[in-house]
């Protein structure tokens, strides 16, 4: 469950928390674009490390570390598949360049997760919903989206309780062959689904009893306004994007292997 922890909103105050969610969203999109733009190791490494000051500024270092640990499994999976496919089909000159390329691909994935984490850990679900609403998304959809996000940690906790309860009845998750192991999860999934359904019904009843959707036009307590720092943040992001595009198309990027050989 450590992966979810890294995506959970931390209600603390930091410069990153105070940036408008829309500005942050643009930043995350640009980061995505750059990560996909480059497939060489060096720019991806720079991109990866450039996020760390942001993480420190946002005071979510511990969550970030935990998330990194959580992604290790998938990262390893991506690394291995890349290694295997590049070895057989890539036509790369040396083993070193294959490794470099695989590491780059893994890093790309980690950067995507990392930027997601910064976004979600520093943007409160309320603000997220508000910004969606102000972008013209119907409130019902915003609400459903936010509720889904909000229930992730609740469900994670519940899954843990269910696992405890079934283990106490002698369920051994790690026993048996592959098929048996998948079947072992049925006693955990069914209560989880049933309780999620039950919970959503209860939520619906509670909302209706408090007159949800009674008035056609909703007003909000807060309205989001982009300030100078938000525009600055967006401008910097766009400058970085333009620079990256320039580097990508007009500058030759050496591989790490070449650098070591000639440097």
């Amino acid at each position: 469950m450590s992966v979810f922890e890294g995506l959970r909103f931390r209600n603390i105050s930091s410069p990153i928390h105070r940036i408008d969610p829309r500005a942050k969203f643009i930043y995350v999109c640009i980061l995505f674009a750059i990560a996909v733009l480059f497939s060489q190791l060096i720019p991806l490494l720079i991109l990866f490390f450039s996020q760390i000051p942001l993480v420190i500024m946002a005071k979510v270092k511990r969550e970030w570390l935990r998330l990194m640990r959580g992604t290790m499994f998938f990262a390893a999976l991506i690394f291995i598949t890349n290694m295997i496919s590049l070895y057989f089909y890539g036509g790369y000159p040396s083993l070193l360049s294959i490794i470099e390329r695989s590491v780059a691909m893994t890093l790309r994935f980690i950067i995507l997760v990392e930027s997601f984490s910064i976004f979600f850990a520093t943007t409160s679900p309320d603000m997220l919903s508000l910004s969606l609403e102000q972008m013209g998304v119907p409130y019902e959809f915003c609400f459903a989206f936010i509720t889904a996000i909000r229930f992730v940690p609740v469900l994670a906790e519940e899954a843990q309780s269910i696992m405890d309860a079934q283990k106490a009845r002698g369920l051994e998750l790690e026993r048996g062959n592959f098929i048996k192991r998948i079947r072992n999860y049925i006693p955990i999934l069914i209560p989880l689904i049933v309780s999620a359904i039950r919970r959503s019904m209860e939520l619906a009843e509670a909302m209706e009893s408090r007159a949800w959707g009674a008035s056609k036009k909703r007003t909000n307590l807060y309205t989001l306004k982009m300030g100078v720092k938000d525009y600055l943040f967006i401008s910097i992001s766009i400058i970085i994007l333009v620079l990256s595009l320039y580097v990508c198309f007009f500058v030759y990027i050496p591989s790490l292997a070449e650098l070591i050989r000639f440097g």
Partner: protein, 242 residues
């Protein structure tokens, strides 16, 4: 017993190996929990969780009870016997083929209890068993706990239902802020207003009455209804005799 967050559930989770101690060790029937799997410990320790919805998943009540028995590798014949026995014991026989999800909250709780009792564990842990049970079912539960206890089983009940505990008169352990603040006979612990208050509880109603009647020469440490009746009658007869 103790308030929410006192560490009751955390403590009992150590008895079945769901939590392992970071310091010291937990011995269950002579076995160190660090050296045994939860499944091994569960054979000896039956743990009935507070929320039955966390464990019910089968299509019928019967299957639900058989689940743990299958995990422990009982033979089909034994499983059938045990299921019948457990259904009967908890007044659930008529729901045998019903889906556990169709039952009421209290009934689901009983199914959860039946599914644990079925494998006849030596030690039984009940986490908040009285929640959602009506007076009649509570009374049955109480008899049932006493009966199990007389059969030589250890029954550990986690609860804040002080009236329920007072009627059983067991050994009581009070907890507050992750520590044990009292450990002794119910008659001693539950009639001590300061201790009970520290655990965010109120003494049983009968005890509260007798503490206030102390000036008339009544004893303070009274828990049971019948005991109270006897004491009051003695007092009234004494006055009538004068």
């Amino acid at each position: 017993m103790g308030q929410n967050g006192a560490g009751k559930t955390t403590l009992v989770k150590h008895f079945i190996g769901l939590l392992r101690p970071t310091r010291g060790r937990v011995l269950v029937d002579g076995v160190d929990t660090r050296n045994a799997s939860v499944a091994e410990l569960a054979r000896k320790v039956g743990f009935v969780f507070q929320n039955p919805d966390h464990q019910l998943f089968s299509e019928t009540v019967e299957e639900e009870i058989a689940f743990a028995l299958r995990n422990f590798g009982f033979s089909e014949k034994t499983i059938k016997e045990r299921v019948d026995w457990a259904l009967n014991l908890l007044d659930l026989t008529r729901y045998r083929k019903t889906s556990p999800f169709m039952l009421s909250g209290g009934e689901r709780k009983r199914v959860a209890l039946a599914s644990v009792l079925a494998w006849d564990p030596k030690i039984l842990i009940l986490d908040e068993p009285t929640i959602g049970q009506d007076a009649y079912q509570k009374e049955r539960l109480r008899h049932f706990i006493i009966q199990l206890n007389q059969q030589g089983k250890t029954v550990i009940v986690v609860t804040h239902d002080i009236e329920f505990v007072a009627e059983c008169e067991p050994r009581v352990i009070l907890m507050a802020n992750g520590r044990i603040i009292a450990d002794g006979e119910a008659r001693e612990v539950l009639t001590d207003p300061t201790l009970v208050k520290e655990a965010s509880l109120m003494p049983p109603e009968i005890t509260q009455v007798f503490i206030r009647l102390n000036d008339f020469g009544f004893p303070r440490k009274v828990l049971g209804v019948y005991e109270a009746k006897r004491l009051i009658l003695e007092y009234l007869r004494g006055r009538a005799g004068k």
